[in-house]
């Protein structure tokens, strides 16, 4: 994975609460076997009319928000299913970060593994970002992963939380599988020490 240090870009506001993964990427697009090409289907049911034409009033279709790199979602963003297709689709649609007051667990964990930054801000900052994006779509904000800050155009920087391990992996482009593989000895030792218990679970061979 490529290291990630920061995301700088314009904002697209979608401040509804409880945006679920079925909206981010509807299930009928999940019949794929790779991660690519999901960007066009991101928010498909909100984005396109029945005849497939783009709905002009949906934020991702508005000319002023084209090329935005940071999505502002509402509270509890990404609830619902465990589909990692959700961050893949958001990244495919050009986003490098999502800002919310709160993220659903699995979505957050999936995003961190793919380099999509889930940035949690307080309610006041959230409101301010939404009005900034609505009033001036050219507003840029800067997200610095190392410093864990989001800097508003007026220079005010707010900090956001991220767990140390994920941060380390993102900054250094380390993938988590590599880390787990390096613990092979420990896993073997665990299997040895717990063989009676593990083997109580019937084998599935044949």
């Amino acid at each position: 994975m490529e290291p990630i240090r920061s995301v700088t870009g314009r904002l697209a506001p979608l401040p509804m609460n409880d945006i679920d993964t079925d909206q981010i990427i509807p299930a009928r697009y999940l019949k794929v076997t790779d991660k690519h090409g999901l960007g066009a289907a991101c928010f498909s049911d909100w984005r396109y009319a029945a005849d497939g034409s783009p709905k002009p009033d949906f934020v991702l279709n508005m000319p002023q928000y084209q090329g935005a790199q940071i999505l502002i979602g509402g509270h509890n963003f990404g609830c619902g299913s465990s589909r990692e297709h959700a961050p893949w689709a958001l990244m495919g649609a050009g986003f490098g970060a999502v800002v919310s007051t709160y993220f659903a667990d699995i979505f957050r964990s999936n995003s961190l593994k793919n380099g999509l930054l889930p940035v949690i801000v307080d309610e006041e900052t959230h409101k301010q970002l939404i009005s900034l994006a609505q009033e001036d779509p050219n507003t840029q904000v800067h997200i610095d992963l190392e410093a864990q800050t989001l800097t508003l155009p007026d220079g005010r920087a707010v900090t956001f939380p991220i767990d140390g391990f994920s941060k380390h992996c993102l900054l250094n482009g380390v993938d988590q599988l590599g880390y787990l593989l390096s613990l092979d000895d420990k896993a073997s030792a665990y299997e040895g020490a717990n063989s009676a218990r593990i083997n109580t679970h019937a084998m599935m061979q044949g």
């Binding site: 299930a27 999940l30 076997t33 609830c79 665990y190």
Partner: protein, 473 residues
């Protein structure tokens, strides 16, 4: 109990800024969230570490249409076919056991684990599917993971996890006739909201939970994720052991005795503390139904749809406004008597034999309302066979319902089973998100009893008004 199961699976301890490494006892795999993980293994030249702790099935993108003359279930969707073929290839190449489409053990991933006796107390169980929480009904720590993590577990049998907090969900009293496990969990989620459990593992307890069958407990744990919790657990007891005993993969002989001894030590010690608690009274609980576009937008079936104007919080008002517009409902409207187009009885929440028996109890000797489509979709081929042995399929067919092959079906609408735009459905599944059951489709989530009662009348119906209390008890 959560602590005990967690502690027993720590391969490497975590710290504040470092997730723990947990050993995974059982990894369930399905066609939709695994392809990219197998590709990763191939790219890196890795093997599946414990194929004997891994089991794959086909359920999400599979059709539930009748078998052809060749006895096979035809898959006409090219993309779905390719996805299923890729799973077959992956299981062959990596030596993973597979319950392929239409074979005797195939079914929804969260139905087959318990049914095979693979799901056991005290285990860690994961699957690339958020409803893995179902397996917590056995006192296992079970939760959904993303596809990257599916790759981690395939390759290492371990997973990185920060330790969650615990919330006690206490359900006191006894359920009245006509009220089920589904109503309990819909009431819990209506109370705490869809994000209320984020960061927690629920432990369900109390008299009403103890009184439930394993299948009822599974229904409840299944929907833990709809309250935001990754996992939900019920302490194992005699009901649990009774359910597991004799199943194909249950321990046998001395192994069984040893296992039960271990399982008996799992329940939470008296006086254990939780980070949070919710209390519900089963005595006064009526059947529940959802009116909105997330599972937290639920109410008692006799209540009226809430009024957005009465909400103080602006974004909550916006969300409810949007939901009611999508659902085509008016504030203060009663759902009872609302005409529906489809009734769906199925999904990993309510497609087990006891769910089908409940639905059949109401539909027996009655007819499905004119013009209504009623789909009954068993959770697995084994459930299907059992139901047919009991004659339940005849009850459904004679009533005018469709009796289908096993799978996720209209729960997820990626397999041909779906609502048309604007259609209303009463559904026993777990999600009423916009478009979940088909683009533009509108879902009311409810219990199998409520679904069956609605099937008879063609309008949303309180099951307690269709049949006498004695029949329901």
């Amino acid at each position: 109990m959560f602590e005990k199961v967690w502690d027993q699976h720590v391969v490497a301890a975590g710290a504040e800024d470092m997730p723990a490494v947990l050993y995974i006892d059982l990894h369930l795999v399905h066609e939709v969230t695994s392809p990219q993980a197998f590709t990763l293994l191939r790219e890196r030249g890795l093997k599946v570490r414990r194929p004997d702790r891994t089991l794959a099935t086909m359920d999400h993108s599979t059709p539930t249409t009748p078998r052809g003359l060749d006895g096979l279930i035809p898959v006409t969707d090219v993309q779905a076919r390719a996805q299923l073929d890729f799973l077959i290839k992956n299981c062959e190449d990596f030596d993973v056991p597979l319950y392929a489409l239409g074979t005797e053990n195939q079914g929804i991933v969260h139905v087959i684990g318990p049914e095979q006796g693979l799901t056991q107390p005290g285990m860690t169980i994961v699957c690339g599917d958020s409803h893995t929480s179902t397996h917590g009904a056995f006192g296992a720590l079970a939760f959904g993971i993303g596809t990257s993590e599916v790759g981690h577990v395939l390759a290492t049998q371990t997973l990185l996890q920060y330790k969650p907090k615990t919330m006690a969900v206490r359900v006191n009293g006894r359920l009245s006739p006509g009220v089920t496990a589904k109503d309990i969990i819909l009431a819990v989620i209506a109370r705490i909201g869809v994000g209320g459990g984020t960061g927690y593992v629920f432990e369900y307890m109390g008299e009403a939970i103890r009184a439930l069958s394993m299948e009822g407990r599974m229904t409840i744990c299944n929907m833990s994720i709809e309250g935001g919790a990754r996992a939900g657990m019920v302490a194992p007891d005699e009901t649990t052991f009774e359910y597991i005993k004799g199943r194909p993969h249950a321990p046998k002989g001395e192994d069984w005795d040893r296992a039960v001894e271990h399982w008996r030590r799992l329940p939470t010690d008296d006086g254990a503390t939780f980070d949070n608690e919710v209390i519900l009274d089963a005595n006064t609980l009526p059947p529940m139904i959802t009116y909105g576009t997330n599972p937290g937008m639920g109410m008692q079936i006799t209540d009226r749809v809430p009024d957005p104007d009465k909400l103080g919080d602006v974004s909550a008002k916006m969300a409810l406004d949007k939901a009611l517009t999508y659902m085509g409902l008016q504030p203060n409207e009663s759902l009872l008597g609302k005409p529906v187009d489809v009734v769906f009885i199925g999904s990993c929440t309510n497609s087990r034999i006891s769910d089908l028996r409940e639905a059949a109890k109401i539909m027996k000797g009655r007819k499905v309302a004119e013009g209504l489509r009623v789909m009954v979709v068993p959770g697995s081929q084994r459930v299907k066979a059992q139901a047919e042995a009991e004659g339940l399929d005849r009850v459904f067919r004679e009533a005018g319902a469709e009796w289908r092959e096993a799978g996720c079906s209209m729960c997820i609408a990626m397999n041909g089973d779906q609502l048309a735009p604007g259609q209303y459905a009463v559904s026993t599944s777990n999600r009423n998100f916009e478009g979940r059951q088909g683009k533009g489709g509108r879902t009311f989530l409810a219990s199998p009893l409520t679904a069956a009662a609605t099937a008879i009348h063609g309008v949303v119906t309180d099951p307690r008004t269709v049949v006498g209390e004695r029949e329901l008890a």
